[in-house]
Subunit: 532 residues, 2 copies
Amino acid sequence: METMSHNSTLFSDVAMNNIESTHSDVISITLFVAVLCLCLVVGHLLETYRWLNESIAAILIGCIVGTIILCTSKWKSSRLLRFNEELFFIYLLPPIIFNAGFQVKKKQFFHNFFPIMLFGVAGVLISTSIVAAGSWWLFPKLGFGGLSISEYLSIGTIFSSTDTVCTLQVLSQEETPLLYSLVFGEGVVNDATSVVLFNAVQKINADTLNGQTALRIFLDFLYLFTTSTVLGIAAGLVTAFILRGLSFGKHSSVREIALMVLVAYLSYMLAELFELSGILTVFFAGVLMSHYSWHNVTESSRITTRYAFATLSFIAETFIFLYVGMDALDYEKWKMSTLSFGTKMALYSTVMFLIAIGRVALVFPLSIMSNYMHRSGGESSKISGHHQMVIWWAGLMRGAVSIALAFKQFTHSGVTLDPNNATMITTTIVIVLFSTVVFGFLTKPLVDYLLPATDSNANRRNPRDPGSPKEDMTLPLLSLEESASENLSRAKENMSMLMDRPVYTIHSYWRRFDHTYMRPIFGGPCTNESSC
Amino acid sequence: METMSHNSTLFSDVAMNNIESTHSDVISITLFVAVLCLCLVVGHLLETYRWLNESIAAILIGCIVGTIILCTSKWKSSRLLRFNEELFFIYLLPPIIFNAGFQVKKKQFFHNFFPIMLFGVAGVLISTSIVAAGSWWLFPKLGFGGLSISEYLSIGTIFSSTDTVCTLQVLSQEETPLLYSLVFGEGVVNDATSVVLFNAVQKINADTLNGQTALRIFLDFLYLFTTSTVLGIAAGLVTAFILRGLSFGKHSSVREIALMVLVAYLSYMLAELFELSGILTVFFAGVLMSHYSWHNVTESSRITTRYAFATLSFIAETFIFLYVGMDALDYEKWKMSTLSFGTKMALYSTVMFLIAIGRVALVFPLSIMSNYMHRSGGESSKISGHHQMVIWWAGLMRGAVSIALAFKQFTHSGVTLDPNNATMITTTIVIVLFSTVVFGFLTKPLVDYLLPATDSNANRRNPRDPGSPKEDMTLPLLSLEESASENLSRAKENMSMLMDRPVYTIHSYWRRFDHTYMRPIFGGPCTNESSC
């Protein structure tokens, strides 16, 4: 009887808590959305004066709001929302990655497919190995031990996902198309790869690291990578086929848009259901949808999908940076870590150093490899020394994905009671803040110094904005306009290149296959061989 | 000690259930989204042959899928998802209503503001009183008693929200602009009003109905209505002001779209926070945004917002009808009701009869009142007898809002164990199915009979599709194209009408005020007096 009453008290307590938490949730969400709006306006004002980019603005506003909350809540909490990794991985990350796939410049992406994949996939493997091995070797020497092998591997993947937005904002797509496409492509593929590798590491949960475990992680990674890619490609092709076959547009653009959104979401859910990587699936669904489906829909659907997906992605990213800014002031986490100030500083420097070393080990060798494969392609398809420096720099910044993976690894719904975990979370936050704010500020001077010939001031584009209003009516596939003479010279070049360059041969085979078999079935522009 | 272990077993059970339910949730959601895609495709194919509309298609597919699930689950359940009223009221209804406000033809809406409000607000009050009083008087006579006064009032509001989509599909906006605008306007305002009135009834929770309670409900309704409207208008004006003042578009269409979406959501959350009606708030936020903000943004933002909101609304509506179709086969609910077959049939007929009577009591007197106020406005602004019949008929159909309110009143998260509640849920489902499917089929012949002069076949428009691709580049405010001579004659008419028609005088004052003070501050087209 006593148990019963005790239980019922417990349950009514829980119920009361729920009601209260629901009401405070509404307040938190309302405030958060209001702060998001503020971010938009402030970000716009700051950008007008070209001071900062949006990420930095969101982080700074997050810090300010965090301070205010910290003061009003009497040093209890600096956050409006508790971090929910579900929220991040189910609602925020998929639109960002899908949009990246959807907005990717297909022509440049397919043209530079091999170097992008080299940097995005092989690069992550190299960077992860170096950061993981380095932290395993150096952390105990700094007096920060007690992490498992599996955690070191996770740290490797956490610090291997880059955020290239800052660099893209100061690069000119017209002046340095190869560089722009490599930085953009690597940034996108790299995010998806890091998440897949992170999941592979989580799955294996290695206690000791030997050749066999590494092989298992690698095989698991390969399996996840290929199956997820195939699922994404299938989703994209099915959408294109339905849209082409039924020509919805005759009656309603709304149905076309709805179908694209629903199939994208469906492919993500299917991937999660089969325990694959939904992120990679939506990325390739996005690429395929914009490569084929996009050409089977009405003009309004094209504009709408393009901007609606970009907006979703933009809101999700701002949300994350705002959250990071608020979380940076979370008093509890800083207090919980038992390390001294000096050790902490050493830890941050070590991680930053490992990231830089990891980038050196991936950018320069892979650039040489890419240049070797394109050895007779002329200067335009080679990655010069200065360009390699820019690629190296672009990948130093860490962003939303690092934060999300760190929270997934080291907290339970945003809360941790373990000092080691708290240290790793704060380290990740410091790295993200430092690299985004400090390196973000330095990017423009550096790029101006390394690429002096390009008038990057005049041609600077905002990568979040898929195009100026005037450009809307042109095909984004052709957004890299080429003059007829360029086309002609490139066609001649192609003929000679075909002989001795394996990469170009494969790319050219793909283009022929795409023309002859894929586009007639799935749709796409086919008026002019060189413009396709 | 025993209690402890018992508790921990209980908790681990709960945890296990959670994990299992999460996995089965993923399967359900995946299947549901797949069925939604199927609905899209089938709905499109059916519409190509002009057999059915989307709602009927979704309901029928829902029934078929429900049957399949019922068979595979061995008569356990016919649903993929358990109805969650939170889901409906927080995620599905707001986009539908916001979109209705956003897409409403402002010119026609403001022009016919008074008759629309008369039908949409006063009409709901009349219809609710009649259905509530009629069911209170007739239900016990049929052998179905045991409902409280508060429940009868809820039944009144549940069966007062109309679904005019079927009728709009066969009306021609060009041939009968007044009729189209009245049917569309009533349908939209009516949904919001029903929800507000429902909430007012819930709040008062009357045990006995007397003059005082009725007055309290009415005052509460008035309070909710005005405050929610003011909040929505404020949100719309703030957005317009920010967009105009900062001209985001120069840098990024994405920020404009994001701001519109976020402020719409924020206004909804604020309304919920202050315990107002979020539905009404987003409706007016939508109207104001498209009246002012829409003119301060880039062309791409206009197209994107227009189609993206329409798509969201479309998906939400299809989702609801699909759910209704599946839920119609929920074996448990039908079994639970203790009434005989004859009583049930009598109950359904009674409700249908009360709905019809309620419409008679609102449409014809209010039409006469509207005609009286426009007594010297010429034939074009009078509601003819045939038009009154069409308005009456259009409001006979019941849709998503009725279902949602019924679930909110009579179930707890979609489940009910009380026979009376189960009966009311099944009654609502039967009414919605019957009115949508049977009346939906009959609408075209009836409208053809009542409005023989209009060539409704040729000009039939799909109201879900905000416009044909060609129309995209024109202003929707002007979608009712008028020739110059028409404008001229209307202007002359206006001058004489101003003298003796109070409604027109107010409307004309509003237009002058809008021109002189509002548009310079909040934006809008001001090139031509008569086209604004």
